[in-house]
Symmetry: C2
Subunit: 354 residues, 2 copies
């Protein structure tokens, strides 16, 4: 039974990654030991960590440009405070495009003044604000590239004379960008990169070490850089699965190749949403995410029929977040075009039936 | 080929846990989805989390006594700062019994005054200080129950009129203690409990909410308690493997049953260390850990012979930590008595050969 898994995260990963990970839990590298019982200081695991770090920089086109990749713990929620602790001396600019931006702002306020440069909160975050001004006296600008809950995505990033910090948790490695425009990128692994349990941090070293506060060791990016992302025991298995997923992406042709697939998937579902009178897209068209399509059913009476058909088609995880309601189809890198086709078929079939 | 894995952590876990975990990576609960791709909000995973939290309290005998169990990220190293952030208003007492105590002290100093009540640093931490006085004006007392690197273990904990905080990373669930004497217990999972990637925190709720500083959401125990350890995406797989390991321990008869096994293993190896003139124990006898036996080879000329014999016996992970040198046999809960017997046989064989 093939399940079409549209879960918003943790979410679908490549089948070959599941198979290799499952095998490694029994016998890693044919050494007779499980990956769960090997020392993180063993050569076998140090190689995994170094490979994962190198693949991340290579896929983002950031090799040799002064960046370091780290695999930390605690999710993007921990990065909300680490970014501020490490970079904010007095004031920082934040663009508020959704729940996660809002949470990032809340944590940053503990460490200084936050200039909220724009917000789409009044419209339940169904668009990305544009044309905002960023005060020049800020230590950095923070934004969220893709808003998983609302299905919006920033298409154009501002050009600024200050460090750019971006939470890319739900669209990293999914589309081509000039990543060298960013000085700090962070992303929970559990969307396009791996399982829950590790967080990728990519940081330009030159922006660090400029604040006067004393930073606890575990919260200090410089601690982790100086120890090669092994200051303390890393989340071994999560880093291994992430390495396999990044290797899978590289073998496919990297971000440029997967972006084409992601655009096809997005076009397929958004065409259906726009053409099928039973459904309505939530996000403004110009700001639609290629990762998470949010939509509602116009006629509540069809809800049960639609959900039964969805279930019969072995489609999983399309319930919308409680903040938006309706449905959300998350189509991360590992989601096959065919699975999106099956969801679209169910939507068309509902129109014929109704 | 059966490997005898004496690794200090991450380390051996029960074989049945490896088998069930490996299967869950392919198909969890026979739902057709990998445990790596399911939502952490799915009923299946919420059940895992609740079960793991309940098992932890049940095994420690802390059910219904005002404690909450949490599975967080970031290792004991993150607890060094969380403990201080959540509990220290002005001053705290720390017992310094090794590298990890020392690191905990370093982080706590960011948040207030640390009274180091005693230290065995001058003897490279080969014993546990006793008879120390704890100043009455401290917000809490902090200690490390077992010192993985040095092979020492606290046998008697002080009785104090202040909250007791204990880092039990390397001996939790290994011996019977009155755990209700402690107000905050934390432990990285990767010794007796599960894989690297999650940290158990057991906290008595009444000690929280008493400091005046603003605590960032992710660093605040109350945040995690209020959300049932699901404030943000938890490390799903690490929590699942931990749940399986705790269930295995419960099925065996809990801490009382495993303690007997652990004592047999410890007695076996320490007898050999004491009777075999080629080896010398590092830790003072009264303070020896039942988890980590540290010892040196008296005659350096036998090093290569011993290490070749160890390798031929499929023994893994007995190199000592660089701070101590020599050897360390870590004998966590899942280590069979038979594996310790095989190491002891190699040590005896070396004596016969030498």
């Amino acid at each position: 039974m093939k399940i079409h898994n549209f879960s918003a995260g943790p979410c679908i990963l490549p089948q070959e990654v599941f198979e290799k990970s499952s095998q490694a839990v029994l016998n890693f590298n044919n050494d007779g030991l499980s990956i769960l019982e090997i020392s993180h200081r063993s050569k076998a695991f140090v190689d995994v960590m170094e490979n994962a770090r190198a693949l991340a920089l290579e896929l983002l086109g950031l090799e040799g440009k002064g960046y370091k990749a780290l695999f930390l713990q605690g999710g993007a929620s921990t990065q909300f405070l680490m970014a501020a602790m490490n970079l904010m001396e007095k004031k920082a600019a934040y663009l508020n495009t959704g729940t996660w931006s809002d949470n990032a702002i809340k944590e940053a306020k503990i460490y200084g003044e936050v200039a909220e440069v724009a917000s789409s909160k009044e419209a339940n975050y169904n668009y990305i604000p544009k044309g905002y001004k960023v005060p020049k006296d800020c230590d950095y600008f923070h934004c969220t590239s893709n808003n998983t809950i609302f299905g919006t995505q920033i298409k154009d990033f501002p050009k600024l004379d200050m460090p750019m910090v971006c939470d890319m948790s739900s669209d990293i490695f999914s589309r081509s960008l000039d990543f060298s425009k960013f000085d700090l990128i962070y992303a929970g692994a559990q969307k396009n990169m791996g399982p829950a349990g590790t967080t990728l941090v990519v940081v330009k070293e030159e922006i660090l070490g400029k604040v006067t506060r004393q930073i606890p060791s575990m919260m200090d990016y410089q601690t982790h850089i100086s120890k090669g992302s092994m200051f303390n025991t890393p989340p071994v298995f999560a880093v291994y699965v992430t390495m396999l997923t990044l290797q899978w992406l590289k073998d496919l042709g990297g971000i440029a190749a997967i972006e084409k697939e992601n655009e096809k998937k997005a076009q397929l579902i958004y065409s259906e949403i726009d053409l099928n009178p039973l459904f309505k897209g939530f996000a403004e068209k110009a700001d639609r995410s290629i990762m998470n399509a949010t939509f509602t059913l116009e006629n509540d009476n069809l809800k049960d029929t639609f959900e039964t058909m969805v279930k019969e088609a072995n489609i999983n995880g399309i319930n919308g977040h409680r903040s938006v309601g309706g449905y959300r189809a998350s189509m991360y890198n590992a989601m096959p075009l065919n699975s999106v086709g099956i969801l679209v078929d169910v939507m068309s079939e509902l129109e014929r039936k109704a």
